[in-house]
């Protein structure tokens, strides 16, 4: 079934019911269309439900109201087509880097040689050659996140979901990882949904940005980022980048203030 959209989110709402009876409306009437192979950012203040939306797209949380569809059909549960990368890396700590990357490959039914070959390929892609036998506890945050990215990309998902993947890293590592991610995405085109609260990060990485309101989350604006996709990190010094970032920050600012005050 050919689809002109990579991910189609229609009228999705989501509520969390707390034990004491207080219900929290995380998302309200989300309509979102992510194009195939598009790098799409979900930008918004803390608690706006952007992660929840990501988990719904991934199929990790069941959809309550509305529908989410990809080219493969409706989303009913987790699947290989939708890979995910978490902020806390979610590496299997008892496995080495290589074993982590091999995990998904083992489920693919490839023969041993092909698996090892593919694992090596992706470990090199994220510049971790030499660290294959290290355990996550021996790696820095940046290296752990690279492992997570390699692990997810190795099974070749059509859609890559990223939940504030660089949020746990220090500012310098974060910049390096952003540039590397951009480079990887330019080489291996995929549909990416990238959750972040960092405006510069969103403008640098994404082609389109959905700006979400504070809780209950709605999509307030969708912005096209018309920057040179082929350019490297130097694009961040350009005037267009600065202007666009300011513009978007203005839109986000209201929501951020509302979120800090706890108002809905």
């Amino acid at each position: 079934m050919e689809s002109s959209v990579g991910i189609d989110v229609r009228s999705v709402s989501h509520t969390y019911g707390a034990r004491g009876g207080r219900e929290i409306i995380a998302l309200k009437g989300i309509d979102l269309a992510v194009r195939p192979n598009e790098f799409h950012a979900l930008l918004g203040p803390s608690g706006c439900g952007k992660s929840t939306l990501l988990y719904l797209i991934g199929g990790f949380v069941p959809v309550q109201t509305g529908a989410i569809t990809t080219a493969r059909g409706p989303v009913t549960g987790p699947a290989r087509e939708r890979g995910i990368v978490f902020q806390n890396f979610a590496l299997f700590p008892w496995k080495t880097v290589r074993e982590n990357v091999l995990y998904g490959l083992e489920k693919l039914g490839l023969d041993r040689k092909a698996r090892e070959q593919r694992a090596r390929e992706f470990i090199e892609l994220v510049h971790l050659d030499g660290f294959e036998d290290a355990h996550p506890s021996q790696l820095s945050g940046g290296m752990q996140q690279r492992t997570a990215i390699a692990r997810t990309l190795a099974v070749d998902p059509e859609i890559l979901l990223m939940d504030e993947p660089f949020g746990a890293l220090d500012a310098q590592t974060r910049r390096v990882m952003q540039e590397e991610l951009r480079a990887i995405w330019q080489r291996k085109q995929k549909t990416v949904v990238f959750v972040t609260h960092d405006v510069h990060e969103a403008v640098f990485l994404a082609e389109r940005i959905s700006i979400m309101s504070a809780r209950p989350g709605r999509i307030e604006h969708v912005i096209d980022v018309r920057l040179d996709r082929k350019a490297g990190a130097e694009v961040m010094k350009s005037r267009e980048f600065a202007e666009l970032s300011e513009q978007i920050w203005e839109l986000v600012r209201q929501q951020a203030i509302a979120a800090t005050r706890g108002t809905v």
């Binding site: 509520t15 969390y16 019911g17 034990r19 004491g20 009876g21 219900e23």
Partner: protein, 262 residues
């Protein structure tokens, strides 16, 4: 996963009641229908009747009083020796050096194995039992008192010192109150240990007390009596644990713990 208030009530209250109720009903039904030899599994009704009879005749009260007397005596000794020892260990290096290996080596040992030694030294009556209980219970008390005193935050200590507090005032008015939660935890662990050790010791040495009565019932193949004893011990255990929790809440009302729980 969202859980509505209704699901909460069902999950946390109704279902446990249902499960336990069904288990008890199944127990009674199995016994009534003679599915299992009544010797192996006496009817719930018989057990309840026996408990009622024993309570009425005062037998249970006597046994209970005896067991509690032994348990609490041993527990008290463990507390009186253990708490100061733990505090000393935290404050004075020589004590720590000497006792730390003894305590940590003793922890995983089956201390009940030492009972014959205590019987040899202290005879067949209450004394040996109480000392056995004290010996078993002292370890968690020392350990907790040590950890609690050691972990006392430096800042209140330094503040108090700079305000002119003497060492003794420091101990009683700063260190002990701050170590109190952990000391109480140690006592909370030691009390069930004391109870179990008492019951087991009574079983091993026969005589009166709940343990003694239970093992006698066992020897006379009085399975109703054995099961009655188990129910009694279980209930005593629950009551004791609840009582201790209440006392802890009272004593630590001023502590951060109480605020967190509220």
């Amino acid at each position: 996963m969202s859980a509505t208030p209704r699901a909460y009530v069902i999950g946390d209250f109704l279902i446990p009641m249902l499960v336990i109720g069904t288990s008890l009903a199944a127990w009674e039904a199995t016994a009534q229908m003679r599915l299992i030899n009544p010797f192996l599994l006496p009817a719930l009704s018989d057990v309840v009747v026996r408990i009622g009879k024993d309570v009425g005749s005062g037998v249970v009260i006597v046994d209970l009083a005896l067991t509690l007397y032994r348990a609490l005596s041993g527990f008290a000794i463990a507390a009186v020796i253990g708490i100061p020892l733990g505090i000393l260990m935290a404050r004075a290096a020589p004590f720590r050096w000497f006792f730390d290996p003894l305590i940590s080596a003793g922890f995983p040992m089956p201390k009940i194995a030492f009972l014959p030694i205590f019987v040899l030294w202290f005879g067949l009556f209450d004394t040996s039992k109480i000392i056995m209980v004290a010996f078993s219970s002292v370890f968690p008390v020392v350990s907790a008192a040590y950890a609690g005193t050691q972990g006392v935050n430096k800042w209140p200590l330094w503040s108090a010192r700079s305000l002119g507090a003497t060492e003794r005032e420091l101990l009683w008015e700063v260190i002990l109150p701050m170590a109190l939660p952990q000391i109480l935890t140690g006592l909370q662990i030691a009390l069930p240990v004391a109870l179990i050790t008492t019951v087991v010791t009574e079983m091993l040495m026969s005589g009166k007390g709940i343990g003694g009565s239970m093992i006698n019932a066992g020897r006379f193949a009085d399975s109703v009596g054995v099961f009655a004893g188990i129910v009694e011990i279980a209930m005593v255990g629950i009551v004791v644990i609840r009582a201790v929790e209440m006392i802890r809440r009272r004593l630590l009302a001023w502590h951060a713990e109480a605020r967190v729980e509220a």
